[in-house]
C-alpha cells in the first residue's frame, strides 16, 4: 500500500512506571489502520486491550505511561505533538466510546445538552441552535425513539442500550476520522448488543469513519471487523484479515480463543445432567408472582405497580441442571430472591422438598437455608475483605453450629482441596485472589453445608472463557460426587446450552418458554427464544438468521405493561390477537411448553 495509513502504531510499549522491573502492559505493539476500515482487537482479559485504547486517546493514568514507540495519525506522531495540538485531536478527529455508557456522562445534566456541549467544545464555531439540531437528528439516526424529548432527559432515564447509542452519537457528531470503540457491547444484553453492532457497521459506512473495535468476544469482532489484531500478554500475537484469522489461525493464542468458544449447534459432547424419569421434585414453583409498588416522585397519588415476576411455574427434579435465561430486567434476580426465601411472593407457592418454604417455622426455615445455597455473580463484592479465606469458608459451619474449631478447620481445608484452591491460602486474605479463585471460595462456602440445591446466579458471568470452562468442569465433578441439583440463572445462552438439561426462558417476568435443551435450541417454540438464539455471538453457521428474528427496540417497562402478550411490541410475527390477549402456555410433548398464539399443541408422545 502506498498511501499513508490513517493510524500507524509502531513499537508501542506501555509500562507501569519507569522502574527496571516495571510490568509491561503493552510490549512492542505495531499495526496500522487504513481510513474507513474497521480493525478488530481481541484478546483474553489482561492482554492489554483497554490500555491500548487508552494510549491511543491519551488517557493513560499514572503509573501507566508510554515508554517507547510511536502513534502516527496521518503520518504525524501524536505522542511527539505539542499538547495543545494533540488535545485538539481528542474528541474532534479521534473519538472514543467505552464500555461503561452509564458512567460516561455527567448524571446531573441532560444527555442532549452534553452532546451539544461536546460538539461546541471541539467545533467552536457552531451555534447552540445548529448543534442542537444536529444532535437531535443523530439521536434519531441511531433509532432512539422520540429524540426531541430524549434530548432533554438525564442519563439515568436512559437504559443501557439507549445510553450506548447516545454515546455513539456523542462520538460521531463531530465527524471524527477515527473511532475507538472499547468493549461497547460488553455491558449490554445480547439482543441489544446485536442492534448496536448493526448500527456501528451502518454508521461507519455513512460517515466514512475508521473504527478500532475492541472486544473480548471473537464472534463479535469477526462480525464487524475487516482485519483482526490478536493481543496476548501485551504483545501482538496475530494481525491479519478476519477470514484468515478464523479459518487459518497461525498463533497458539488465536487457536485457543477459537477452541474455547462454546458451541451452540454441535449435538455431541453435551454432558448436561438430566433427571431420571422417576426423580423426585426438589423445588416446585407454583404460579408465583411478585409486584413492587413504585411511589410516584411527588409522593402523592396511587403508587404504580412494577410486575417483576408474573405467574411463574416450574419444577426442578433431583440431580438435574435447570437453567433460567433472560435479559436484564426480565425478573431473574427477583426470582432468585423468592427462591431463596429472601422475599415472599405476593401470590403462589414455592415448595421445597414437599413443604412450602414460607410455612416451616424457625427450625424449618433454618434447615431450608442450609439445604439451598446461593453463589452470586460479583466475585469482588461478595467476599469480606477483612476475613481470611479459611474463616470465610468455615463461617457457615459456625452459623449452623457444627463441629468444634478443629473439625471446622479440617472440613474447610478439605473443601478448599475439592474446589481447587491451594490449602496454603487458608490464612490469607481474599484481596489478592483472581476473579476465578474468588468464585471458587464462594462455591466452597456454599458447598460446605452439603446443600441439596445450589442456585448459581450469574456465577460465571464475570469470568473469562478459560476460567468459565474450568469452573463448569468443577461443577460437574462436584455434582457427580455429591449429587447436587443446580439451578443456573444466567443471561448467557451458550452457558445454559452447555450445562443445563432443561431451560426456562424469561421475558418481562414471565416464563415464555420451558423446554429441554435440545428442543429449545433446535426447535424453539417462542419467537423470543429464537431472537435470543439468533443474537448469541458464535462463529458457527447460524441456525436462526438475525435478519429474520432480531428484535427492534427494547423491552417495554415492567411498570406499564401493555395488555396482551408482553413480547408483542418487539415480535416480528405479532398480529392483532397478540396485542389483546396474553397467550396461555401451549404444551409441546410431556413437559415442554411455550406461551405463543402461533403454536399448536403437540400430542404427547406415547
Amino acid at each position: 500500500m502506498t498511501e499513508t495509513p490513517l493510524l500507524d502504531v509502531r513499537g508501542l510499549t506501555v509500562e507501569a512506571g519507569r522502574a527496571e522491573a516495571a510490568p509491561r502492559i503493552l510490549d512492542d505493539v505495531s499495526f496500522s489502520l487504513q481510513a474507513k476500515r474497521i480493525l478488530g482487537v481481541i484478546g483474553p482479559g489482561g492482554s492489554g486491550k483497554t490500555t491500548l485504547a487508552h494510549a491511543l486517546v491519551n488517557w493513560l493514568r499514572p503509573p501507566l505511561e508510554v515508554t517507547s514507540g510511536e502513534i502516527r495519525f496521518r503520518g504525524e506522531d501524536i505522542l511527539a505533538m505539542p499538547s495543545d495540538r494533540s488535545a485538539r485531536l481528542r474528541g474532534k478527529t479521534i473519538a472514543y466510546v467505552g464500555g461503561d455508557p452509564q458512567g460516561a456522562m455527567n448524571p446531573t445534566m441532560h444527555v442532549g445538552e452534553q452532546i451539544v456541549e461536546k460538539l461546541r467544545a471541539v467545533e467552536p464555531g457552531v451555534s447552540y441552535k445548529e448543534a442542537r439540531e444536529r444532535a437531535v437528528a443523530l439521536l434519531g439516526a441511531v433509532r432512539i425513539p422520540s429524540p426531541e424529548q430524549r434530548f432533554g432527559e438525564y442519563p439515568f432515564q436512559y437504559s443501557g442500550g439507549m445510553m450506548q447509542r447516545a454515546m455513539i452519537v456523542d462520538a460521531l457528531i463531530a465527524n471524527p476520522e477515527l473511532l475507538i470503540a472499547d468493549s461497547i457491547t460488553q455491558p449490554l444484553d445480547v439482543t441489544v448488543g446485536a442492534q448496536i453492532l448493526k448500527l456501528m457497521r451502518e454508521l461507519s459506512e455513512r460517515f466514512d469513519t475508521a473504527i478500532l473495535f475492541i472486544s473480548a468476544s471473537l464472534p463479535t469482532v469477526a462480525d464487524v471487523a475487516d482485519e483482526i489484531l490478536v493481543l496476548e500478554g501485551g504483545r501482538v500475537a496475530e494481525f491479519a484479515a478476519v477470514d484468515d484469522v478464523i479459518s487459518r489461525p497461525r498463533h497458539a493464542a488465536t487457536r485457543k480463543l477459537i477452541d474455547e468458544l462454546p458451541k451452540l449447534w454441535h449435538r455431541d459432547g453435551m454432558t448436561t445432567a438430566a433427571a431420571t424419569d422417576k426423580a423426585q421434585t426438589v423445588l416446585s414453583v407454583q404460579n408465583v408472582s411478585r409486584v413492587y409498588p413504585i411511589k410516584s416522585k411527588s409522593g402523592l397519588g396511587k403508587p404504580k405497580l412494577l410486575q417483576a415476576v408474573r405467574d411463574v411455574s416450574f419444577d426442578i427434579h433431583a440431580g438435574e441442571n435447570f437453567g433460567v435465561v433472560g435479559e436484564s430486567g426480565c425478573g431473574k434476580s427477583t426470582l432468585m430472591r423468592l427462591l431463596t426465601a429472601l422475599e415472599k411472593p405476593d401470590t403462589g407457592h414455592i415448595v421445597f422438598d414437599g413443604e412450602d418454604i414460607f410455612g416451616r417455622g424457625r427450625a424449618g426455615t433454618r434447615r431450608f437455608r442450609r439445604e439451598v445455597q446461593l453463589v452470586l455473580q460479583d466475585p469482588f463484592g461478595s467476599l469480606p475483605p477483612q476475613s481470611s479465606i479459611g474463616e470465610i469458608i468455615s463461617e457457615p459451619l459456625v452459623i449452623h453450629n457444627e463441629g468444634d474449631r478443629r473439625q471446622r478447620r479440617t472440613r474447610a481445608l478439605d473443601m478448599m482441596g475439592e474446589v481447587g484452591l491451594d490449602r496454603s491460602l487458608y490464612e490469607s486474605l481474599p484481596t489478592r485472589l483472581t476473579a476465578g479463585q474468588r468464585q471458587r471460595v464462594n462455591v466452597a462456602r456454599a458447598m460446605i453445608l452439603e446443600p441439596r440445591l445450589m442456585i448459581m446466579d450469574e456465577t460465571l458471568s464475570a469470568l473469562d472463557q478459560t476460567e468459565q470452562s474450568r469452573l463448569i468442569d468443577l461443577f460437574e465433578r462436584l455434582q457427580a460426587q455429591h449429587g447436587f441439583t443446580y439451578l443456573f440463572i444466567s443471561h448467557d445462552i451458550a452457558l445454559v446450552r452447555r450445562v443445563c438439561a432443561r431451560i426456562a426462558v424469561m421475558y418481562l417476568g414471565e416464563v415464555v418458554e420451558l423446554a429441554a435443551n435440545e428442543r429449545l435450541f433446535f426447535n424453539p417454540g417462542h419467537p423470543y427464544s429464537k431472537a435470543l438464539l439468533s443474537a448469541a455471538p458464535t462463529l458457527e453457521d447460524r441456525r436462526y438468521r438475525p435478519e429474520d428474528c432480531l428484535l427492534e427496540g427494547e423491552p417495554p417497562s415492567p411498570i406499564d405493561l401493555p395488555p396482551g402478550c408482553a413480547f408483542a411490541s418487539r415480535c416480528p410475527s405479532a398480529f392483532d390477537r397478540c396485542r389483546k390477549i396474553n397467550p396461555q402456555p401451549v404444551y409441546r410433548g410431556d413437559h415442554d411448553r411455550a406461551a405463543c398464539h402461533l403454536l399448536q399443541p403437540e400430542p404427547v408422545a406415547s
Binding site: N58, R90, Y154
Partner: protein
C-alpha cells in the same frame, strides 16, 4: 406537580416535627424543679399570692391542658407573654411585686422578632466569610488529593477546628478592639459590631466546609465521566467548573443547611461573649429566668426555621441532582 407534592408532603412532615419538639420542650420545662411564679413576683411576695397568680395563669392545670391552651394560641400567631419581661422594656428582676409599670408583660413574638434579625445578620455574615475562605481551599485540595494543597487544607482545618471559640472571641476582641481599636466588640450599634463574632463563627464552620468539599470534589474527580469528558474533547476548565463542582456541591449543600440552622438556633457562647443582642443571648436570659413562654417561643421559631431550611436545601439538591428523591 412535583414541586406541589414535594412541598405539601414536606410541610406536613415539618408540622409534625415542630409539634413534637414543642410538646417535648413544654413538658420538660414543667417537670424540672424551679417555680417561675416565684421568680416573677420576687422573693418578698407571700406564698398565697404566688399560688393565686399561678392559678390565674393556669400553671396548676394538667400539662396536656396547658399544652392545648398554649397551642391554640400558637396557631393564631400568639406565642404568649413573657413571664418576666415587661412590655415597657425595663430591666429584668430586682423589683417589688407591686410595681405598676411592670403590669403589662412583653409579647414573646415581639421579643423574638426584635432579636432575630440580628442573629440572621450574624449567621449570614459568618456563613459568607466561611464560604469565602473555605470554598477555594476545599476545591483546590480536592483537585490535588495527597499533594500540598490537600495537606495545607488538612492542617488549616485541624487548627481551626481545635481553636475554642470563647478563647478566639476574647483574643480577637483584645487585639482588634482594645489594642488596635479597629472594630467594636461589645453590644450592638451598627453593622461593624457583627464582624468580630462573625469571624469567630466562620472559623468554627470553615473546617467542616473545607473537609466536605475536598472529599466530595476528590470523589467526583475520580468518576468515569470526568475522565471521559477530557477524551470527548472538553477543556479542563469546563470539566471542573460545569461538571465536577456541580456534582460535588450536593454534600456541601446539606452541610450548609445544618450549619445555618445551628447558627440560627442561637450561637449561645459567641453571642454571650460579645453581648450580641441576638436569639442566643435572649435564650440564655430566658433560661436563667425560667421564662417558660419565651423559651418555648424560641424553640418553636428555631425548629420552624430548621424545618424550612431543610426543605429548601433538599429542594435545591433535587434541582442539582434530579436522581435524588426526598
Amino acid at each position: 406537580m412535583f414541586l406541589l407534592g414535594f412541598l405539601t408532603r414536606r410541610l406536613a412532615q415539618g408540622a409534625v416535627i415542630v409539634l413534637l419538639v414543642t410538646f417535648l420542650i413544654f413538658t420538660l420545662l414543667r417537670v424540672i424543679p424551679g417555680d417561675p411564679v416565684r421568680l416573677m413576683v420576687g422573693g418578698m411576695a407571700p406564698d398565697t399570692l404566688v399560688e393565686q397568680i399561678a392559678e390565674e395563669m393556669g400553671l396548676r392545670d394538667p400539662i396536656p391542658v396547658q399544652f392545648a391552651r398554649y397551642m391554640s394560641g400558637v396557631v393564631q400567631g400568639d406565642l404568649g407573654q413573657s413571664f418576666v419581661r415587661p412590655a415597657s422594656g425595663a430591666a429584668v428582676g430586682g423589683a417589688a411585686f407591686d410595681d405598676a409599670t411592670r403590669g403589662e408583660r412583653a409579647q414573646v413574638l415581639t421579643l423574638i422578632a426584635e432579636t432575630a434579625p440580628y442573629t440572621i445578620q450574624l449567621a449570614l455574615l459568618a456563613m459568607a466569610l466561611a464560604l469565602l475562605v473555605a470554598v477555594p481551599i476545599g476545591v483546590f485540595a480536592g483537585l490535588s488529593p495527597g499533594r500540598w494543597p490537600d495537606r495545607v487544607a488538612l492542617y488549616l482545618g485541624s487548627v481551626f477546628v481545635s481553636v475554642p471559640n470563647f478563647w478566639l472571641g476574647i483574643v480577637l476582641a483584645l487585639v482588634f478592639s482594645v489594642q488596635l481599636g479597629w472594630l467594636p466588640a461589645i453590644g450592638y450599634e451598627n453593622f461593624a459590631y457583627t464582624i468580630l463574632p462573625a469571624i469567630v463563627l466562620a472559623v468554627e464552620i470553615a473546617p467542616f466546609i473545607i473537609r466536605t468539599l475536598s472529599v466530595s470534589v476528590a470523589q467526583v474527580m475520580r468518576e468515569s465521566y470526568i475522565g471521559a469528558a477530557a477524551v470527548r474533547g472538553l477543556g479542563q476548565t469546563r470539566i471542573i467548573m460545569a461538571h465536577a463542582l456541580k456534582n460535588a456541591s450536593v454534600p456541601l449543600l446539606n452541610l450548609l443547611g445544618v450549619q445555618f440552622s445551628l447558627l440560627l438556633g442561637g450561637v449561645l457562647v459567641v453571642e454571650f461573649i460579645f453581648d450580641y443582642p441576638g436569639l442566643g443571648l435572649l435564650t440564655i436570659n430566658a433560661v436563667l429566668q425560667r421564662d417558660f413562654p419565651l423559651i418555648q417561643g424560641i424553640a418553636i421559631v428555631t425548629s420552624v426555621a430548621f424545618v424550612m431550611i431543610n426543605i429548601f436545601v433538599d429542594l435545591l439538591a433535587t434541582m442539582i441532582d434530579p436522581r435524588l428523591e426526598y
